[in-house]
């Protein structure tokens, strides 16, 4: 009796299984790599109505974050400043720069400057700036080195895993209160950070919520 299946069919099951495994590995690593804020959000750097340069204002001029983001210590929102805040200086300095025209128009007319939001927690997340900066979490932990950015970009993923890293081990991130707005500050070594962090966490009774309702409502 002749063979029903030709000889090459002997290797087909093996080949199909290997091909399926390769396909599954590729697809799932693709999803793991792309379907996360690490890919979708990080690097977002839109054009703004005025190309505000944080590096110039913070490093060269030496302004404090709170000059413009005044509410950060007392409110859930750090706040984007009103045009009048810009005009405190730009009424005199570079007062005819074409780049600042939207600010002058807004100051005259009262119409808002339509800044493009870059960092945005999902709306089912209730993040409070004041609660964090008043307990030694620096701007740099979530926003990256904004003080060195000429164009602001989304630097950290701000995914839930990102939040939980610090909520699990706050001692690795908290710093003395007078260093919160000093974005370049770093503990001398990781061990010194953890040692100091433990003390601060105990002193302030820091107990970051790990239950769902801590952040989701």
């Amino acid at each position: 009796m002749a063979n029903i299946f030709p000889e090459w069919s002997n290797t087909v099951p093996r080949k199909v299984i290997v091909a399926l495994i390769v396909l599954i590995i590729l697809v799932s690593s693709g999803i793991a790599y792309y379907f996360t804020p690490e890919y979708t959000r990080v690097g977002y750097a839109p054009d703004q109505p005025v190309p505000f340069d944080h590096h110039l204002h913070v490093e060269q001029v030496g302004m404090d974050c709170r000059y413009c983001h005044t509410n950060v210590e007392i409110s859930g929102r750090a706040g984007v400043p009103a045009a009048s805040t810009c005009m405190n200086c730009h009424d005199t300095i570079k007062s005819d720069s074409p780049l600042l025209a939207p600010i002058r128009e807004s100051y005259e007319s009262g119409e808002p400057v339509e800044w493009v939001r870059i960092h945005q927690a999902p709306e089912h997340v209730y993040f409070n700036h004041a609660a964090h900066v008043n307990r030694g979490v620096s701007c740099v932990e979530c926003h990256g080195e904004v003080n060195r950015m000429e164009v602001v970009r989304h630097e950290k993923s701000l995914s839930m895993a990102f939040c939980l890293e610090c909520h699990n081990e706050p001692e690795r991130y908290v710093r003395p209160l007078d260093k919160v707005y000093d974005l370049d500050w770093e503990a001398v070594s990781p061990t010194a950070q953890v040692e100091m962090g433990r003390k601060l966490v105990e002193e302030w009774s820091v107990n970051p919520p790990l239950n769902c309702s801590g952040c989701h409502r």
């Binding site: 396909l23 979708t40 001029v61 709170r66 000059y67 200086c89 970009r153 989304h154």
Partner: protein, 222 residues
Amino acid sequence: MRYFYAILLFLVVAVLAIAGFRGQLSKKPPVLLFGDMHEQPKFRAQDSSSLFPDRRADRPAVPGTVPFVNAKQETYPFLAPRDRFREDRYLTTGEIGDGSVGETDFGAGFPIRITHELMLQGERRYEIHCAVCHGRTGNGEGITRQYGMIATPSFHDTRLREMSDGEIYSVIVHGRGTMGEYGSKLTVEERWAVTAYVRALQLAGHASPEDVPEALREGMGL
């Protein structure tokens, strides 16, 4: 089989070429992969809204609105408006008299108790909001002078040393000349704290080694 792997390789290269890598700069808004509840039909602070002609979701206070504190906010002060209405005219404006005369009349003295904490608070606020122009010592040589802000006076001039506390307070609230208003950035207490700190700077600008308490002199090399 070979074709299958060739197509697979081509697909991988194609995905990498189109989607790129993590962290690449992009001007396009982030893609929402699972949008459920991510964007909700509600407004958050400083959102835009198509409901109102000025496209602001935040509604400006109606002229004449007076912030008040209700019973719940008395119990939980963090719920209260940052700066509530208070009857005391000098405390909130730095002015005295009934305000009927054309000339504004500024009072002297501090309507709140000056403590070490208040001075430290004044120092912090001064360094954030004032030092950029007035300089950390109040000599008017802040960084903005190098960029063309030439009109900033020194606190150590006779005119400013003789200025009343109420007037300094009022200038902080409303601004004067090229100086903008800082009333929107500072609470009543913070404004008086800054006023007190300005007074301390003026004192320090005209002090002699004898004014430093004996115990502190050594640490300052006096």
